[in-house]
Symmetry: C2
């Protein structure tokens, strides 16, 4: 249960306020959508819909619900910022970055090997130490 849940007793959660409904003590949204973060719910509602978010929360174990809500909020924000690619755009950028770094590392290691062999092989421990 998030620390913001205690606030809920005083005012309806951001979801119930947005949906203009009574926020009851068993509200599935209240622990994860505190009233002081109205945009968080507005975003996930706009991209996934309240009913789908509720369904996903029911499917997930209680101790994982906060992570589920935060990942949904992250995805929703990314989709609102970039309606074409959403957070899949970030995945493409990161995949390219991984490939670039792997290539650079291979080239750097090849340089060490080349350099070491030109000096008679005495420095190969530099390369081997890194992989071990």
């Amino acid at each position: 249960m998030s620390s913001s849940y205690s606030n809920y007793t005083n005012s309806p959660c951001a979801a119930c306020k947005f949906l203009r409904r009574k926020c009851t003590s068993d509200c599935v949204f209240a622990p994860y959508f505190p009233p002081e973060e109205p945009t968080k719910f507005a975003n996930v509602h706009r991209i996934f819909g309240a009913s789908n978010v509720s369904k996903i929360l029911q499917e997930v174990a209680p101790h994982q619900r906060e992570d589920a809500v935060n990942s949904l909020a992250y995805e929703a924000e990314a989709r609102l910022r970039d309606p074409v690619y959403g957070c899949v755009g970030a995945i493409s950028v990161l995949q390219r970055q991984v490939l670039g770094l792997q290539r650079e590392l291979e080239e750097t290691n090849a340089d060490i090997m080349r350099y070491a062999s030109s000096l008679g092989g005495e420095s190969t421990s530099v390369y081997r130490g890194r992989r071990g």
Copy 2:
């Protein structure tokens, strides 16, 4: 317009078939949800809802709609596979991979520098060449 759009004239698109409605010639889903890929629509419908997908498609320029649908389908599939983290899980894994590779590359470059300076600095061109 995707190549599968030509198939649509013969049978309703996967979205209209799923929603049990008539598939008209101006159907917003038809070009991107061919009847032979029923799971693609079922997945995005389950996670985002048909109405939200339609809204996102309307917001996006026609030449970007295929990319938008494919990224929505990717996100929906990831969320069905992992209801807690969805494709945000892939982002975390890739971010950790990038940090690990950057660290490894820095260490390898530091090794080269250390090794070069122990030999009197003659090999620093190996390191500098990589960055240039």
